[in-house]
Subunit: 584 residues, 2 copies
């Protein structure tokens, strides 16, 4: 037996007991007559004491232990004179009587502390050492607890978890597929699922009523900080439901997670907001509601005063930053630089200040009177001490830029707190998006999304006006999940394909088996999928999903630790009937 | 709202309530004045009644409904005069007042009944219809409940579930890898995991102490009835443990499953049996303990009587089938044919009968006296009315054939009951297996398996004698799980590689990242993996794992429903820097 207790559980209740612990040497301090060792395992840290007066040989052994050695120690639990209130075991220490080195360790390439001295690359390469650090360990423990709680909730709601295949068929859902050559079917390939979308709809056709799965999905996309080639979804589908049923069930799941994991109970129902309102008031379809500072349109109020920028603009909008009237030239220049960044794309920034002393001042005083400015502040519901920031131009781009500016101001003013959570349902998305380049309509969510019944009339005459039975769950400005009520009727599905410009053959090739299934009694159904990595990162307070994934890949899709992907053998190529053909 | 209740929950408690149900038309019966429809959903079946006297039009609508139509019906719950005690809703029926067809259905290509009239291929192609059948639905519900209970148990034992990557590195664990070309790393490939073996060991090095995962694994092997290219494991690993800890924890998991799912409590600790005993008494390393009929060696007792077959045999062994002394010539011939099948490989079968009347008779009466036969029965602990079946030849092959013959007799005598469960730990496996073809030793489990400490001395002098700290959980003759305590020390691992004939470079290439990790303080650790598909099939009483998998593949690795694998586009080949090269 390697241990009687873990390093996280001993307290004053165990005083004078003889115990055996095993773990890693976190640090050791040699104070002449005494040597102290912090012994670490997954559960905590316990202090070991070796006394020169009592056992010179043992103390000598202890002094030889290096960082990250794996040891076993037997000894007696004693009350500490110098207690450490920061750790649960801080009241006690172990007077060691027997010591055994289970395994030595070379000096690790970086420190195993909450904040390590290792760079990203080094820590990725030695991920198994990085994972020893408490912040990562806590993240993975959190991830486990969240998955458990999701499953408990779903089970309590009569959902059943059904595993769908990883070796799938290439399906056209926007992103690139990863493919797998089939040895037994030469020249043919499986694809890894981008999501189990069609299979979960088939499960509804099969009568499974309430399905969920915490499942790996795959997209071969160029990677950004918050993207991984493989990621985990909480994938869900229900039959005999309309939008309201889905929102209720998954608002319930979200509440259950917040309550069981973070002890947070939301008193009010989650806010619901139409896509249109989100876009016009926040400049984005995933508003961060931790702070107000809504965007307001002031186009009508600013035109005709001779200021060319406003006069020629399709749209002029503003936000009002409370308490910022004393912003310096330098601060305002920084904001101007911010909105002019290519990824924001505004041409310039207009401001107006309403001083604490009642004075009114703007960057366009040449064109607008104090009375004008006063009106702006009145429109923006601003007061003395506030700052109005104005952008003008094309409606869509300007709203988007204002949305970014709003978030930037939220950051500067500390309004986006990690421990405040503002969940929001965004609803009433457009069904279709027009693409200027290819001159055709695309499904905003996917081609199975149901239109709103009252909008079906415009399907062919004014497709852009048709709203979808789609919904996103947004928390603190990040989309955590999204889904829709599906089309379950063959005729309406064919109409949809027609609007999307799919030929009958194309539709058959891409979605044939789902369309076939719909011939045999498909029930009304709908679903949702949550990004489990993102949700965990939100709960962990981490900005990157890499910090909540045990073995993530880097921006080139490489696993630095395993050195994967890698070459394969000539024999494998032969068996799989493929070969490499590098671009010249 | 599509329904107020499901089709499985209404009873006499709801009499006279107005309810709304939705579901599929299972069958309809038109009795002139009345039309009855069985409405089905995941939860059960409820009888709908339409009465010509009350509503001719509605009754007419009902008569037009075809099998598998999806309908919604509103009506009043009434007590049935003609109750059906076989179903939970059999006491009531619904007098329908309103009917809505939600979706029509073409006539399904086979009947949706407990026993369908559809052939295997057809049912695979229309899997979404096959999945509507109650036996499959019950299997998938069972699978969900089992996964939940596994997770609950593991969570209660402080295990945390950690997701390991699906896009892995090609690792050499015997079977062929499925590979995935990397677009971003042209000419390089990921491999799908055959198991997360090395990663779970890394998690132990990382200090995670107790890891588990219900996880998809992949092997590109030629398929048999109980094999799938992707299958699901309950994968587990623990640190600071020895064999006994693992057996205790996972005996606990198995007991928890039997108790929570099947209401079965095992009174005694699970039987433990050495590999040697399993092989000599049952001819196999996974004995079915639902019945006795142990194999016994009688080599010494039968030699030297002039029967050439016995005299020249390395080994003579027998089983005793109680109550079979009256087996006919025909039955004995059938058994002889059985053992002579190529996959069994015996040359012939010798029998001896001990009649109810005390008479002794054998197929080798020329060589053996009644006294000899009496001795055989005494050795075999047989009595009047029993039959002894004897095989002779090479020890290993004969034992294996006797093992098969024993199972065949178990089947014939109805001793292998579906509702009897006999769990067994097989332990003390040999560490290494000699392969005659390649003239080298192979690891019987895998190269990280720890030898028994007391056998390490023979490591180089007599490798075949070294036993492993390995264990299998066998239930009813099927291996449900297996694992081992791992080597955690670099020197011993290198010794193991040496015995296996790996060069330093080979070892580095194949297991480099694990060996590197062991330099930084690896704890003692070990683990186990269970075949979740097999375990579910056992609990479901199914002989094929296909019946507990939602979307299985056929023997050619094809998904008949999705028609996958399939061709991919020229653009995909270009992006992935590969092309197909078919064998000529």
């Amino acid at each position: 037996m390697f241990r009687t207790h873990t390093c996280g559980e001993l307290s004053l209740k165990s005083i004078e007991q003889t115990v055996t612990l095993s773990g890693w040497v976190q640090r050791s301090r040699d104070l002449g007559g005494m040597t102290f060792i912090d012994l670490r395992d997954r559960y905590g840290i316990t202090q070991l004491v070796f006394n020169m007066d009592q056992n010179v040989a043992l103390c000598g052994e202890a002094r030889k232990l290096g960082r990250e050695y794996v040891i076993q120690a037997r000894g007696v639990v004693k009350e500490r004179s110098n207690k450490n209130p920061k750790i649960p075991t801080g009241d006690i220490e172990i007077f060691v009587e027997e010591l055994r080195v289970l395994n030595k360790s070379e000096v690790p390439p970086f420190t195993i502390e909450d904040v390590s001295d290792g760079g990203d690359e080094l820590r990725m390469k030695y991920r198994y050492l990085d994972l020893r650090r408490a912040p990562l360990r806590r993240n993975l423990e959190l991830r486990h607890r969240m998955a458990q709680e999701v499953r408990n909730y779903m089970d309590s709601q009569k959902f059943i978890e059904i595993e769908t295949p990883v070796l799938m068929k290439s399906t056209p859902e926007g992103a690139r597929d990863f493919v797998v050559p089939s040895r037994m079917n030469p020249g043919q390939f499986y694809a890894l699922p981008q999501s189990p979308q069609q299979l979960k709809q088939l499960l509804m056709v099969a009568g499974y009523d309430r399905y969920f799965q915490i499942v790996k999905c795959f997209r071969d996309e160029d990677l950004r900080a918050d993207r991984q080639p493989e990621f985990t979804q909480i994938d869900c589908e229900m039959a005999f439901v309309d939008r309201e049923d889905i929102l209720q069930i998954f608002e319930g799941m979200t509440r259950h997670l917040f309550k069981s994991i973070k002890g947070i109970e939301f008193k009010e129902p989650f806010t619901r907001m139409s896509f249109q309102e989100a876009m016009s008031s926040y400049g984005v379809d995933k508003p961060d509601l931790r702070f107000g500072m809504k965007i307001k349109e002031i186009t009508g109020a600013v035109k005709g005063k001779g200021f060319q920028v406003f006069d020629s603009a399709e749209y002029v909008g503003a936000i009002c930053a409370a308490g910022c009237s004393e912003y310096s030239r330098k601060e305002l220049d920084a904001l101007t630089d911010f909105v002019k960044k290519p990824q924001i794309g505004a041409k310039g920034l207009v401001y107006a200040k309403y001083g604490q002393d009642g004075s009114l001042k703007s960057s366009v005083d040449k064109f607008f009177t104090s009375e004008d400015l006063k009106n702006w502040f009145s429109t923006m519901e601003g007061a003395q001490g506030d700052l109005i920031l104005i952008l003008a131009g094309d409606r869509k781009k300007t709203l988007s830029a204002l949305g970014e500016l709003r978030l930037e101001m939220g950051n500067r003013l500390g309004l986006r707190k990690d421990d405040v959570f503002k969940p929001l349902w965004v609803i009433d998305f457009p069904l279709l998006e027009w693409d200027e380049e290819t001159k055709r309509w695309y499904a905003m969510h996917h081609p199975f999304t149901s239109p709103m019944d009252e909008d079906v009339a415009y399907f062919e005459s004014d497709p852009g006006r048709v709203r979808a039975k789609a919904y996103d769950l947004v928390i603190n400005g990040t989309e955590m999940g999204g889904g829709s009520i599906r089309i379950f009727n063959k005729e309406r599905q064919q109409l949809m394909f027609k609007v999307l410009g799919f030929s009958a053959e194309e539709a058959e090739m891409k979605f044939g088996f789902l369309m076939n299934a719909f011939r045999f009694g498909a029930p009304p159904h709908g679903g949702i999928a949550f990004g489990f990595d993102r949700l965990t990162a939100l709960f962990a307070g981490e900005s990157s999903i890499r910090d909540v994934i045990a073995f993530p890949k880097n921006n080139m899709g490489r696993d630095m630790m395993m050195d994967s992907p890698s070459e394969i053998s000539e024999e494998q190529f032969k068996e799989l009937s493929i070969r490499v053909e590098l671009k010249k």
